[in-house]
Amino acid sequence: MAVQEFLSPTSLSEAQAAFDENAASSWLAGGTDLLVGIRLGARDPARVVDLKQIPELTAIEIDDASVRIGAAASAFDVLQNSAVPTLFPGLAEALDLIGSTQIQGRCSAGGNLCNASPAADSIPALIANAAQCRILGPDGERMLPVEDFVVGPNQNALAPGELLVELLLPRPSGVTSDAYLRLTPRTEMDIAVAGASVSITLDDSRVCTAARVAIGAVAPAALLVEAAGDALVGSQLDQVAIDAAVAAVRAAAKPISDKRGTAEYRTHVVGVLVSRAIARAQARITETRP
């Protein structure tokens, strides 16, 4: 079977009407995973509904409290946005590691999330930044934290006909920053063997007042490791605190051994990445507030 229909709605209501459960529909928020999946025979939609023509889905909006990234906004547009890379340098790092520049012109954070790969780069960064998913369905709207959105490898929490509309991130204060690091054998054009994202907030005396630590490619879905964040809060990010956070992520990791790395290696290296991501996020705060 090949794709029979390609629809390009220009509004959310048209998109909802275009999605036909019986016609094996797939949303297309960029297509960088969907088209590869169709080519490999892993996906076989009869109808593809393109979301790129819906203004609300490609918008990036920032106010005093929050940052909203349309689910189909391209990684390139996010990276070129005047504010987002400064507010979330770690999220920008994650998006900038996806594929190549050409891929980034099509792919989207929302699509990366819905594709729900255990190794997705942007998901740990969204989790660390406490992003929420705004979901529109036939019965209305609901919100879901990103860490609850992915339910398994390539499985998300969307019910049939539901659509991820946008990602809502709390706007960080000047004493909060983030970082994302991944391990790939190559420098780029590769898939994470392990990934780690950290968002931390420091007070005037450099004491950590809030921390979120998320890890990727070491479990069926990216994990929020609350124990790792808890280990940092109240410390000045000294070695004892960092060691405790590293131990917490290694305990939380449930990796498999596969062609991209062994379970032993992933467990080891995700700790290394968390340790380095903490240092990087910390440096970002202290550099701007010496």
Partner: protein, 752 residues
């Protein structure tokens, strides 16, 4: 003494004639040709790595609207024992035919078992799925040691290399060679090193997948367009596999997006020809990337035991090398080159060398740049480095003490002519890179390499047009800038501008036989044919000028693109424009079987830094030094050196085929088969050394293959110097390095 000592434009760096079309997307590669009315072929491939085909039923596929032909292995010849081809591409017909399409037994996963032709690619794929094949599945063996075990499943029941005719085994070849008395020589050694080194099966990494279009005319003549390193070889192999007379097949080589040895054979060509014959319409076939990985020949994995002995003063006295190689499903003969050449860089009068190759349920291995030499050299050069360290001698100094020079012989017996190994080592020792100090955590390795280089058959035709421009026609597909080199050589001899020469790669019927672009032979041998054709042109122009001036031909001199006698001059352009009234068209051809080949030697220096927490290795500085004889177009010599180094870096650090226990490849694509990307690499500093080849008029030595020989041992040594841990099994990927450096297993939480 070379016939030409001083050069006008040889050694300059003009833009290659084919460059603009390639960078602007206009060049026509294998999949870029379409013929009117063409069908699309699609191969049915085995889902099993080892099986007996019980039945093939194509009736449902053939009944589909738009499906015009089907074929199976029964449509190809029933092969006997004839050998085909030469050099790197040589193989037996009985291996070639089932390699392109099974004839009853499947020996590797994704082996073609049938093919269909239909009016669209999608329909052809659907029809291929409708072909019903029943298999008796057999246990698969993909590891050479397991394949040699007494209870291993045997792939070929008609092959008895060691124990004829008692019992067939998976041992494909077993060769041994001894010079002098190695055992007695080891007894004289003060220090002996003996270690085993291994390197995995590796892909050539060419970007363009295999592709072809075949057309059969009403009289049964075949026109074949394909992406190949040698269209004469493609014609020969296709003729042998299909039984169609060689003379009825014309093959045109498309532009080629990389080959590195992997395109010196055929895969799709006989299928497209048979389908076109059956359907009466042209058939196009394009392999997808996954099938390139799963079903075409990779470079063999190898395990090499090396024993070396030296005296306290640094003199190497004995060597014993035993190389065990993976041949894949059919005989690729990978063990011969290591046997003959493992010791080729060193003065050694007492040495033993053994090579074995083993059948496994993987695609038949194929040539990859200096076939088998990187694998055996990993072991030999690392052992040399380990020996030098034990003796407390600088690794380059140790190599200088023992390096071969003119008059020395390697294990094949013939003494070397003028070679440039010692010159390369001197350049390395005095290079700023080698003299620079190392920062903390960075290690440095040095290694050298040899490749025999081929001569073989080449032809050229040179046609002069009335405006003084020249077409140079050859049968050598241009992989690494050979058109530019041919144009430079013709222009040099004729004394005309580079851009007045149009070098072309023409079809099999349009030029004399030419062997594959491989063996580092094209600039040397095809270049020699071009030089000879150009010299014929000069001689004829001088003869015509002599007639014009009423003098003996011998007194007319040729220089600066003109014939001269006294104060009389006739330019190339004048003689070209007046050809019609001075004796007729000016057209010249030359064919030769070159005996001018000279071996290539290179020395590489590598700095590497290992991140001891993550196990990632970064190559921080790299210098490749090589004797090119005479660099015709230095850009493309440097390009070969840089490309070989980069491929060696990939092989050393991350590249390997990952098979599961059923013999299915788990990483059939460039995402998980990790060749390096540009940002993984430092600038590769290429230093050309020129020690002219006395057998070639311009002094040329082949350059294309040897650059992939030294990188692996140089990198492995640099990693050792960075980490303090000696790695002898490649690739040096992050998990392997971390496992060696830390007790990472202890970090796993308890299973409950």
């Amino acid at each position: 003494m070379n016939a030409y000592q001083e050069f006008r434009i040889i050694g300059s760096r003009p833009v290659r004639p084919d460059g603009l079309d390639k960078v602007t997307g206009r060049a026509r590669y294998g999949a870029d040709l379409s013929m009117q009315g063409q069908l699309y072929g699609h191969a049915v491939r085995s889902p099993h790595a080892h099986a007996i085909i019980q039945s093939i039923d194509c009736s449902k596929a053939l009944a589909m609207e738009g499906v015009l032909a089907v074929m199976t292995g029964d449509d190809l010849v029933k092969p006997g024992n004839e050998m085909l081809g030469s050099g790197e591409g040589a193989m037996a017909l009985k291996d070639l035919v089932p390699m392109v399409m099974s004839q009853g037994k499947v020996l590797f996963h994704s082996q073609a078992v049938a093919a269909v032709a239909a009016t669209s690619p999608e329909l052809a794929a659907e029809a291929a799925r409708a072909v019903e094949v029943t298999y008796e599945v057999l246990p698969a063996v993909t590891n050479v040691h397991k394949a040699l075990a007494p209870d291993a499943p045997v792939l070929h029941h008609d092959r008895f290399p060691d124990d004829y005719p008692a019992k067939p085994t998976n041992l494909a070849t077993h060769i041994s060679l001894t010079v002098g008395e190695p055992d007695a020589a080891f007894a004289r050694a003060d220090v002996i090193v003996e270690q085993t080194y291994s390197v995995p099966m590796c892909h050539q990494g060419y970007i363009e997948p295999h592709a072809c279009v075949a057309r059969v005319d009403a009289a049964g003549r075949v026109d074949l367009w394909c992406c190949t390193q040698g269209h004469f070889a493609a014609r020969h192999f296709t003729s042998a596999a299909t039984g169609i007379d060689l003379g009825k097949i014309t093959v045109t080589a498309s532009e080629i997006g990389g080959g590195f040895g992997g395109k010196t054979t055929i895969y799709l060509e006989p299928l497209a020809v048979v389908l076109a014959q059956k359907a009466g319409r042209p058939v196009k076939m394009v392999m997808d990337r996954g099938d390139v990985f799963r079903a075409t020949g990779a470079a063999p994995g190898a395990e090499t035991r090396v024993k070396l002995g030296a005296t306290r003063d640094g003199k190497l006295v004995a060597a014993d090398v035993d190389c065990l190689m993976d041949s894949g499903a059919y005989n690729g003969g990978p063990a011969a080159f290591p046997v003959y050449m493992a010791t080729a860089c060193y003065k050694l009068t007492d040495a033993r060398s053994t090579g074995r190759s083993v059948y496994t349920n993987k695609p038949k291995i194929h040539a990859y740049r200096a076939p088998s030499m990187p694998q055996v050299t990993l072991g030999f050069e690392l052992a040399i480095t380990e020996l030098a360290a034990e003796l407390g001698i600088d690794p380059i100094e140790f190599r200088l003490i023992n390096a071969v020079e003119e008059g020395d012989a390697n294990m094949m017996g013939a003494p070397y002519n003028r070679i440039g190994l010692r010159e390369c080592l001197e350049v390395a020792r005095n290079h700023d890179h080698y003299k620079s100090s190392l920062t903390d955590g960075v290690g440095r390795g040095v290694a050298m390499g040899y490749w025999i280089n081929a001569g073989m058959q080449s032809s050229a035709i040179l046609n002069v047009s009335p405006d003084g421009h020249v077409a140079v026609l050859t049968g050598s597909p241009d992989i690494g800038g050979s058109r530019a080199s041919m144009a430079l050589m013709a222009a040099e001899v004729l004394g005309i501008p580079f851009d007045h020469v149009q070098p072309q790669v023409v079809a099999t019927d349009s030029v004399g036989h030419t062997d594959v672009t491989g063996g580092s032979r094209t600039t040397l041998a095809t270049g020699q044919a071009v030089i000879q054709a150009a010299e014929q042109c000069v001689a004829e122009m001088c003869r015509r000028a002599a007639i014009e001036w009423g003098v003996e031909p011998g007194v007319v001199a040729w220089s600066q693109g003109a014939a001269h006698h006294g104060d009389q001059t006739l330019t190339f352009e004048e003689l070209a424009s007046r050809a019609g009234t001075m004796g007729g068209p000016l057209t010249f051809s030359s064919s030769l079987n070159s005996t001018s080949a000279a071996p290539a030697f290179g020395v590489h220096i590598c700095d590497a830094e290992v991140d001891k927490e993550t196990g990632r290795t970064t190559i921080t500085r790299y210098t490749a030094i090589q004797d090119a004889g005479k660099a015709i177009h230095p850009d493309y010599v440097e390009g070969q050196m840089q490309g070989g180094a980069v491929q060696g870096i990939g092989w050393a650090l991350n590249e390997e085929y990952l098979y599961n226990e059923k013999g299915v490849l788990e990483n059939p694509g460039f995402l998980d088969y990790r060749i390096p990307v540009a940002s993984d690499l430092p600038f590769i500093d290429a230093v050309i050394v020129e020690v002219p080849n006395p057998l070639h008029p311009f002094g040329v030595k082949g350059v294309g293959e040897v650059p992939i020989v030294p990188p692996m041992p140089a990198i492995a040594e640099a990693v050792y110097q960075s980490t303090g841990v000696r790695f002898r099994d490649l690739p040096l990927n992050p998990p392997k390095i971390v496992a060696a450096l830390t007790d990472s297993r202890a970090l796993l939480p308890d299973p409950q």
